[in-house]
Symmetry: C2
Subunit: 328 residues, 2 copies
């Protein structure tokens, strides 16, 4: 045995000894002991135990996470909506006509009810002026600059500091067990991609979301992707299994959400042949975060509360199951 082969053999042996550590240690320290945590650990153990009846090969270990309300806070409004409203304010000096035109007039006056009264038409107009009309690189810079400085109105934290520590641990735990982890969000795919890798450890190629159309063009010899003011795909509700089909091309074995917009994603995941896992984060902690469900404008959870348990989905109580909400 040459020195090199010997080293390789030792390396392989060392890997065998080290590997089980990822299962044995407490990988979910921010989760209180209880049914939710146990359910996660039992599932991961079952699908990763070679030779077991529930074993799933690493290639097929796909886990999908909703973003708003599942990985970070979505109150008092979706973060991307806060971004869009801030952008309208930032762009207003170039658009004096907005002072007299809805929905911009209400946005600039801070009149939430007025914005809401403009309905879907108003929202699409806000989306068009804030998310389209620039190149992909320009939009990435705009989103990156905003997310690096914008603060939550209640906590004063950066939005990216308002991610859920127990879910970060869950993502790491799944990745340590050779899961491929994807975000499948109703939010805009290009709004999320600039920061998901840094914040969640999930790269842009593993982000699925809603999108607008875009076109490729060469301007003055320089190729660019230009964002257009037309909705291309809405990755919410029944759109989520379609987004998964289009982007991932594998049926997930685990799905994590928090609202009825995630219902079909969990339904699609947990109706596969073979073991699967579905989990809903229930926002019931008004002291440490927010308490809302059936009546909420953002992240409404109604059908999932009633039907989730019948499907065998785990309902997580943020109040009781999580030791800690945000990272230290």
């Amino acid at each position: 045995m040459s020195g090199l082969h010997r080293l390789a053999a030792i390396a392989a042996a060392a890997m065998l000894v080290l590997a089980p550590l990822s299962v044995r240690a407490d990988d979910l320290p921010s989760w209180n002991d209880g049914a939710a945590k146990q359910g996660i650990v039992d599932f991961v153990s079952a699908v990763t135990t070679a030779g077991g009846t529930d074993y799933v090969a690493p290639d097929e270990r796909v886990a999908v996470f909703d973003n708003d309300g599942t990985l970070w806070s979505e109150q008092p409004m979706y973060v991307q909506l806060a971004f869009a409203l801030d952008r309208v304010k930032a762009l207003a000096p170039e658009h004096p006509e907005w002072k007299d035109t809805e929905p911009f007039k209400s946005v600039l006056a801070g009149d939430a009810a007025g914005v809401a009264a403009t309905g879907e038409k108003g929202l699409v107009e806000i989306l068009a002026v804030t998310h389209a009309g620039m190149t992909s690189d320009e939009f990435t810079k705009i989103a990156t600059d905003w997310i690096s400085t914008a603060k939550h109105p209640k906590t004063g934290k950066l939005y990216t500091e308002m991610v859920y520590q127990p879910m970060l641990e869950l993502i790491s735990y799944l990745k340590a067990n050779d899961f491929k982890v994807f975000i499948v969000s109703g939010g805009g795919i290009e709004f999320m991609r600039p920061w998901t890798e840094r914040v969640y450890g999930i790269g842009p190629e593993n982000v699925v979301g809603s999108s607008i159309k875009s076109k490729y063009e060469v301007q003055d010899g320089k190729p660019a992707i230009v964002r257009l003011p037309d909705v291309d795909f809405v990755d919410d509700g029944a759109g989520k299994p379609i987004g998964i089909y289009t982007h991932i091309g594998r049926r997930p074995i685990a799905a994590f959400g928090n609202s009825d917009g995630d219902f079909q994603m969990l339904e699609w995941t947990t109706s596969r042949t073979g073991r699967s896992f579905g989990l809903i984060v229930h926002h019931d902690d008004g002291d440490r975060e927010y308490a809302y469900d059936r009546q909420s404008h953002f992240g409404r959870l109604d059908k999932g509360l009633d039907e989730g348990p019948k499907h065998g989905w785990t309902i997580v109580s943020m109040k009781n199951d999580w030791k800690q909400i945000y990272p230290e």
Copy 2:
């Protein structure tokens, strides 16, 4: 130092010693020595050398490959077209009216000119009856069954045996150097996904292609994704940078194609800031494969031959640069 830590340290040291092997060995044995092979090795060396001016972090090492004519043969017609025509024949007993209706009449009569005369309208009708109207699972089974048995009309090989050995080596070489390798094809995404992992080592989540629309629905309590007879996205020409933007969300640093349908993908890739690599496979080997370029119906290469070299793209001569075409 505990025994475990000691083992971990040894493992880490062994990895450091072993890692450079992936660069030093000849990872491209089916490539003749010459400018093309040297260009590939120089590029990979440059972007993987830590501390070098051209270094690219592993996360950003995205390589994109066209499929038809780049990874496998596309003559005398695209494989997916052969699939569609075979499907029409297989479905004909259920559709007696096809005997008198174009484009099906010409397909069933083996009249290629007649099919061609029906134009895009005819092709869309063929696509609709062969690719839509079933669930995602059903289509996967249909495509899998066909690709497992269908033979090429000239060589009598399975189509999946007509992949290019030098390109398989190139994919492995890039992966060994921590590249993320994607297929970006004008072909149907769901036609490719069932077999790309087995044949190329590229999983479905790394396949980008053209797609039709689909919808999620629950039939008799069983969720399904149903394929619809409407084109959703054409991943060809200027569509390829858009497909890359939508699916991958990172700009590639290396792109490999063979036809003018790949022009914009290479243009987008090689106009990035920082080192990049573009390569076009030129089919000039009529003895071992096919010889075609500017006049071909399938895989036409015209603009790329003229402008590729000006962009610094490597033009590969299959005849001169490849020792071997197909795997043994």
